[in-house]
């Protein structure tokens, strides 16, 4: 592939397009009558990167943005090309998407459905974005996915782990690269059974909202299948900051495993409390008490500090993977920013490339064409082994990582170690699985 050398300054300028818009005419938008919303007419194509920049997940959003900018750079032929070199599909040439230079706009979701939709709307209506991507919570992902469906643009979901995103709230214009609660559970349960035995009793603390519930449901089902029992499932309010009163009763409940179905700040605080209460030093039913965190992210691990040591969980991707794709991505991201990428960065980078590749293969930016190209698409070389975007629900199926908090981290980024790469076959499920039932994909909407 061609390696256009471009300095950072030049790239940023081209990537800058609209945004603020002061004294700048707005780009042609909505009803451009090319058969679909925001058909790019000039020499550029605009993508909308909608990530949390304020609020508790701002750091995760910042990492996503870094990866997006890197992806744009690679798509436009800058840098070392990253995973474009290892990607099994060879359509991308480093000349943008379908020959049009890739530009982008950024927005702030604030991790609120409302703000996220407003931000996405402005990208669609004002900036002429033909694809929206990003986010750091399932609520936001589902809300923005619904919007993109109605507006007629493609949505690549970013970080969303709830079963509902590709379950009862799935949409024809939306695709999810990230794994989900069911897959976490399916990957974790065998490892847990192997490590801790099949005669275990689990106590669940669950964040009291949709994601928490689907996560808990999945884990409970998967572990009970392995012979575990469930002592209790206690719902904790989202706004809880001190989990001591939820953690304190665990030790005398007869359970010998604590499952924390929490994410972000909730998970950091509940895990910290659990470790403080000395749960992991105790023996119950003659077995060592253990804690499990089904969904890990590196930022969370960092926030929880030394408390994550030895604690099992699952993650979508980790920079220590040694396949060619992962290595190329870590190298290229590390060169650019000086530290290894997070799973959020990896997910959104992949999604940007996959979108671009689908456009190339479809020969159009038309969301219906792109969706068709993505449906049932199988590929490799982007980490996580052989991957498939299932046509029926637009869920991505790939290997899932079971990880554990590292005992002796060598740097502030080296917090998790991969225990097992659970093969894709083990985490797959039927389209009509009851945990995912109740929605309809609908048909793709190209907008006006």
């Amino acid at each position: 592939m061609s390696k256009l050398i471009m300095n950072r300054r030049g790239l940023l300028k081209t990537g800058a397009v609209v945004g603020a818009g002061m004294a700048m005419p707005t780009i042609l938008t909505a009803a451009s009558h090319a058969g679909y919303t925001n058909a790019p007419t000039g020499s550029t194509v605009t993508l909308g990167f909608n990530v949390p920049q304020t609020g508790a997940y701002a750091d995760e959003g910042a990492d996503e943005l870094r990866a997006y900018m890197l992806a744009v750079k690679h798509l436009n032929g800058g840098g070392d090309g990253g995973m474009m070199n290892t990607f099994s599909s060879k359509e991308l040439k480093g000349n943008g998407i379908l020959g049009k230079e890739v530009t982008y706009v950024t927005g702030d979701t604030q991790t609120k459905s409302d703000a996220a939709r407003a931000s996405a709307q402005s990208m669609i209506q004002k900036d002429g974005a033909v694809m929206i991507t990003g986010g750091s919570s399932s609520g936001v992902a589902i809300a923005v996915q619904g919007l993109c469906q109605e507006a007629g643009v493609i949505f690549m979901a970013g970080l969303t782990h709830s079963n509902d995103t590709t379950g009862k709230d799935k949409k024809a214009n939306g695709f999810r690269h990230f794994f989900n609660g069911y897959m976490s559970a399916a990957a974790l349960a065998p490892v847990l059974a192997e490590m801790y035995g099949t005669d275990r009793t689990a106590y669940h603390l669950t964040a009291d909202y949709t994601w928490g519930w689907t996560q808990q449901e999945s884990i409970q089902a998967a572990t009970e299948e392995k012979g575990w029992q469930t002592a209790a499932n206690v719902l904790t309010p989202l706004t809880t900051t001190d989990f001591s009163s939820y953690v304190a009763p665990v030790l005398n409940s007869g359970a010998d495993i604590l499952v924390l179905n929490h994410y972000g700040g909730n998970m950091i605080n509940s895990l910290t409390s659990a470790v403080q209460f000395g749960l992991r030093d105790k023996q119950v039913n003659g077995k060592n008490f253990e804690i499990v965190v089904p969904l890990y992210s590196r930022l969370m691990a960092r926030g929880a500090g030394e408390n994550v040591k030895g604690i099992f969980g699952s993650t979508n991707w980790h920079w220590s993977l040694q396949d060619e794709g992962s290595k190329a991505f870590v190298q290229s991201f590390g060169q650019e920013y000086g530290f290894p990428p997070s799973q959020a960065a990896h997910t959104v980078y992949c999604q940007t490339l996959l979108y671009a590749d689908a456009c190339e293969r479809a020969g159009t930016h038309n969301p219906c064409g792109v969706a068709e190209a993505l449906e049932g698409f199988t590929f490799s070389g982007l980490g996580n082994g052989d991957v498939e975007y299932r046509a029926e629900d637009h869920q991505c199926f790939k290997d899932v990582l079971v990880v554990k908090g590292k005992e002796n981290p060598t740097s502030e980024f080296d917090l998790l170690e991969v225990v097992q790469v659970t093969p894709r076959a083990q985490v797959e499920y039927a389209v009509d699985h009851p945990m995912f039932a109740g929605g309809a994909l609908g048909s793709c909407n190209p907008g006006s």
Partner: protein, 347 residues
């Protein structure tokens, strides 16, 4: 029994934080008549003083390790904190006990921040309506937390307790109960003792020093004290500094309990206002009592037993809303709060 004892411990532990923040809040209201929405931000700043101290102590000399490589294949860096080079074991000790160092550092810093805040901003709002005070301090709270976010990011930053005080103790055995019945984290007990110390200190200061007596007299009747030729304003300014220091210390000591983040102040703000209201606006003992009381009630509400019982009647679990529910009930039934002055806000 042990479950109840555990929740009481949790309650007084949460209550410690509530009481410390509410104490300063009510002190400011009692002395200056100002409703300070930025008080939660002072708690947060205290926590970030601890973060900063930790980071400063760990400023390191970087040497390259030729044998190891980092993730990009470059030679790995070895970090040696300067302080350990200079002071040896004492340096390591300082890093380990950085919370303690932070406490000492935080006192002057927080008093200074408090005094600057009062002289620079709050002073100009004494004669403006409460609504204006709420609004300007609310704005200040946003600014302070966004500045912290710009510097430290949005992700929580873990701080550990000294090794000696990490982990948990068997509190049950200490008081003659069966083994393993009441296990409680050591640091949370330390936090409780610390807060009792601070609360006691503030009360003693107000009760037994001349300065404190004048301040109390001024709280009761500002004009008369002014007529006696005493510069009450200056003392009130210092009390603002003290209130800020109390909130700040609460924040410093809180860091090993939960990793601090930039919005922790806002999380505590609404709660601490509820505490002040329940205790009685302007009442110091009220704030402390209400802090512990609400902490305990909140803990009880989150017991699985109680949650199940409530769910059985078909009601939503009240641990989500108990604090607000209590606030509403108190405001309607006894608006002056548990220990507020009679007649206050009863109209």
């Amino acid at each position: 029994m042990d479950a109840i004892l555990l929740q009481i411990l949790n309650g007084i532990d949460k209550g410690s934080a509530y009481a410390l923040i509410a104490l300063g809040l009510t002190l400011i209201f009692g002395t200056l008549g100002v409703v300070n929405f930025a008080h939660g931000a002072l708690f947060m700043i205290g926590a970030f003083v601890a973060v900063t101290v930790g980071k400063v102590l760990e400023i390191s000399k970087i040497t390259l390790d030729p044998e190891k490589t980092d993730f990009l294949g470059n030679p790995a860096k070895i970090k040696t904190p300067y302080i350990t080079e200079w002071f040896g074991d004492f340096g390591f000790w300082l890093i380990e006990w950085s919370v303690l160092v932070s406490v000492i550092v935080a006192i002057p810093i927080m008093i200074l921040i408090g005094v600057i805040m009062e002289r620079g901003l709050i002073k100009h709002f004494y004669n403006r309506p409460h609504a204006d005070q709420i609004l300007v301090t609310f704005g200040l709270a946003i600014v302070l937390q966004e500045v912290i976010k710009a510097v430290y990011g949005a992700n929580p930053i873990p701080q550990s307790a000294p090794d000696l005080l990490k982990g948990s103790v068997d509190f049950g055995v200490m008081i003659g109960m069966a083994e393993n019945s009441v296990i409680y984290p050591l640091w949370r007990l330390v936090y409780f003792c610390f807060s009792v110390l601070i609360i006691g200190g503030v009360f003693a200061f107000l009760r037994f020093t001349t300065f404190g007596m004048v301040v109390r007299a001024g709280m009761a009747d500002r004009e008369t004290v002014g007529l006696l030729g005493i510069n009450i304003d200056k003392r009130f300014t210092i009390m603002f500094g003290v209130a800020a220091a109390v909130a700040g210390l609460a924040g410093v000591m809180y860091t090993p309990i939960n990793p601090p983040n930039y919005h922790m102040g806002m999380d505590f703000l609404v709660l601490s206002f509820v505490v002040v209201v329940v205790g009685g606006m302007g009442s110091l003992p009220g704030a402390v009592a209400a802090g512990f009381l609400l902490g305990i009630l909140e803990s009880f509400a989150s017991m699985p037993l109680i949650k199940d019982a409530i769910a059985a009647v078909g009601l939503p679990s009240i641990d989500q809303i108990i604090i607000y529910l209590i606030a509403v009930i108190v405001l309607l039934v006894r608006p002056r709060g548990l220990m507020g002055k009679a007649g206050m806000m009863e109209e």
